[in-house]
């Protein structure tokens, strides 16, 4: 079972573990850390537990998701939610698990000694992605994001999309023709 949970700041949930140690144990860039079977965002107090995929794999998928569909105003949490289905699917389908684990391993291999998440600039990571964009692995990740990322109701307000409107009586009295700058 994969869950995204709102965690307490990481030092409270893992007593005796300093931030420095955490980063040393499983640093993923400077933003996400690996602890046990979870990917944790100490800064933003959420975690993602994995059951089928390695947590490092999941952390790489989250970075890859952001590099495929980069929206600087969208927090990592929503990218994590967008890729967590791969862990669920990997639990049910060994072929999918293989596709993702091998895909990430290959991505790391192509990225040099520090792996994909060790590449500091988006530009460098995108260059690696361009090299694999026709692979089934990349297409599975990208294809899943189209719905997985953009169909999250929580991200809609970030883009200024208001969603369902019938229950509010439509936009007849709520600005369907409120444009003023023309």
């Amino acid at each position: 079972m994969v869950t995204i949970y709102e965690s307490k700041p990481v030092h409270e949930t893992t007593p005796g573990l300093s931030r420095r140690e955490l980063l040393k144990r499983g640093g993923v860039g400077a933003l996400l850390v690996i602890s046990g079977s979870a990917v944790i965002s100490p800064e933003h107090a959420w975690g993602l537990e994995t059951s089928a995929l390695k947590p490092e794999t999941m952390a790489t998928l989250i970075q890859m998701a952001r590099d495929i569909y980069p929206h600087d105003q969208v927090p990592d949490k929503y990218y994590a939610i967008a890729v967590k289905a791969h862990d669920e699917q990997a639990g049910k389908d060994p072929a999918h698990k293989d596709l993702i684990e091998r895909g990430v391993a290959d991505l790391d291999l192509k990225s040099g000694k520090d792996g994909y998440t060790g590449l500091g600039w988006e530009e460098q990571r995108v260059a690696v992605l361009r090299g694999i964009q026709d692979t089934p692995f990349f297409q599975a990740v990208r294809g899943g994001l189209v719905v997985g990322l953009y169909n999250q109701k929580q991200v809609w307000p970030i883009f200024g999309y208001e969603g369902e409107s019938y229950s509010k009586g439509g936009y007849m009295a709520r600005g369907f023709d409120d444009i003023e700058w023309l």
Binding site: I68, H71, V147, Y150, F159, G163, Y171, F176, D177
Partner: protein
């Protein structure tokens, strides 16, 4: 009360499909006292059940049964198993349609005469003229409650329309307005007025947009002469030794095969399913499929030359608020070969919600070029191109050689290659659309590729001569006099206009013809 008819009742007219063609024909015949069974492949969802959510609504209404694709159209690459965005539900694609209700232009009934022979195009004149269809267009406009006809006021313009209108004025376009829409601008015919909710494509939860689901079908059912049988997937049309059709075999909701006997069969399953059914009904007497002595069944598949243009502005637009198709420019709909192509196109406002914008803006696209466009979603205005595409014999529906559906029926393969005329028209429209938005200050414009087809046309074309097509000017099969085609597949050519009004007009006309032939005992 809706009348349930016995399977053995061979006096009924069986209509396959309950959309613009089938639903209208069913009600028209029922009003004349003729008993009708409509077999509808999908379920019945009343308009209160529609969902203001793009993916959830798609799961509720869309025809997602497997289809395959081939050809050079981009849809085959991006959506290989979803060539068309149409509906499997009572009401058919009239639940999903935007509501644009335009008459064909006179020359669009005479394309071969007007455009001349074009290499790679199977142009043909319709066996009827605009003048012959005009009285039925008038009836259909009244029936649908089309705005700007019958003294019905136009819809108010939303933000997306206002941007289009400002650009149209800058470009010198003369005919730009909020459209002839089958969406109530005021309550009419027991339907609410539009509340500018958006989500027209997801089924109007106010019932303000005309749909056979809540307009034609309940009226027909009230006569006691119409039964709509949902979850009934037609598989095969049977015939007797004399070559007349006698009944329709369908799979019911439990997958059991049934046969509904019939005096007359009318096929109205949209331009992919209708030829699929005729081809699948091949027999020793009709080895190439029913009504196919011309070999034209499934050929000349048209989908309109489409595409979209979105413009991004430095100030907010909120294009998704209000009527999805909220305005139109008709100046480019004329035939003016000096533009580098024959036929013309309409420009109509369009918007998608964020989830569908992500799916359709540039399918397969990724990276910042893609995402920075979506970042300005609420600063976007959008329009859709709908133009006349060239009929080509090679563009066709065939039965897949190996892949079968859950009932053992071969799935449809949809092959489409753009004609060079289609490409020239689309490029012209992209340029005009971009220029229009730039004229009102767009900082970026996005020429967006065609979506899966919503206007599927031409695969059982009408023709004067039996050798040139499948049906005559009444939609009656040249080969089988008690077999009719009642949907957009009977279009000889596609015109530049959204097809529903023409489908409805043809259905009203066809009902008169069928009733006349029945009283004369000719069929």
């Amino acid at each position: 009360m809706a009348a349930p008819f016995d399977l053995k009742n061979d006096g009924v007219v069986v209509i396959i499909g309950s959309g613009a063609g089938g639903g209208t024909l069913g009600n028209e015949l029922a009003q004349k006292g003729i008993d009708v069974v409509i077999l509808e492949a999908g379920a019945r969802h009343e308009y209160q059940d529609f969902i203001n959510d793009e993916w959830d609504s798609f799961a509720q209404l869309a025809w997602t049964d497997k289809r395959t694709t081939s050809g050079d159209w981009r849809v085959a690459k991006d959506f290989p198993n979803l060539p068309a965005w149409i509906v499997k539900a009572v009401g058919g694609s009239t639940t999903h349609w935007a509501g644009a209700s335009l008459r064909f232009q006179e020359h669009e009934f005479k394309t071969l005469s007007t455009y001349g022979k074009l290499e790679g195009a199977n142009l043909l004149d319709w066996p009827m003229t605009l003048a012959e269809l005009e009285p039925y267009y008038a009836k259909a406009e009244d029936r649908l409650g089309v705005t700007l006809t019958n003294n019905i006021p136009g819809l108010p313009g939303n933000n997306n329309f206002k941007v289009m209108k400002a650009g149209a004025d800058k470009l010198g376009y003369k005919e730009c307005h909020t459209g002839r829409m089958a969406i109530n601008s005021e309550p009419r015919d027991d339907r609410n007025a539009c509340q500018q909710t958006g989500f027209c494509f997801q089924g109007c939860k106010w019932g303000a947009k005309w749909s056979t689901l809540y307009s034609e079908i309940p009226k027909g059912e009230a006569t006691g002469h119409l039964e709509v049988r949902p979850n009934a997937m037609a598989i095969n049309i049977n015939h007797d030794a004399s070559g007349k059709v006698t009944g329709v075999v369908y799979a019911d909701k439990d997958g059991r095969l049934r046969e509904q006997k019939a005096r007359i069969v009318a096929v109205a399953g949209n331009s992919i399913e209708s030829p699929r059914l005729l081809l699948n009904s091949a027999s020793s007497q009709f080895p190439d499929g029913l009504a196919n002595s011309s070999g034209q069944v499934g050929k000349n598949y048209m989908r309109h030359t489409t595409g979209s243009v979105y413009g991004i502005f430095d100030k907010p637009v909120h294009m998704y608020r209000g009527t999805t198709m909220a305005g139109i420019i008709r100046d480019e709909a004329r035939n003016d070969p000096s533009r580098g192509f024959v036929g013309g196109y309409e420009l109509e406002t369009l918007s998608l919600g964020l989830p569908f914008m992500a799916a359709f803006l540039n399918p397969g696209g990724w990276g910042r070029s893609f995402t920075t466009a979506l970042d300005h979603y609420d600063h976007m205005a959008g329009m859709w191109i709908v133009g006349e595409d060239m009929p080509r014999e090679e563009n066709r529906i065939t039965l897949h050689a190996d892949i079968k559906d859950e009932h053992g029926m071969p799935v449809a393969d949809v092959h489409f290659d753009d004609h060079s005329n289609d490409t020239a028209m689309r490029n012209h429209a992209y340029k005009q659309g971009s220029a229009l938005y730039e004229a009102v200050g767009a900082t970026r414009t996005l020429p967006t590729p065609p979506y899966p087809s919503t206007h599927n046309l031409g695969t059982n074309r009408m023709s004067e001569k039996a050798a040139d097509g499948v049906v005559n000017k009444h939609g009656q099969a040249h080969d089988i006099k008690n077999l009719f085609v009642s949907d957009g597949s009977q279009f000889t050519t596609g015109g530049a206009e959204n097809p529903t009004l023409t489908i409805v007009s043809l259905a009203i006309r066809q009902a008169e013809y069928i009733a006349g032939q029945m009283s004369a005992k000719s069929i």
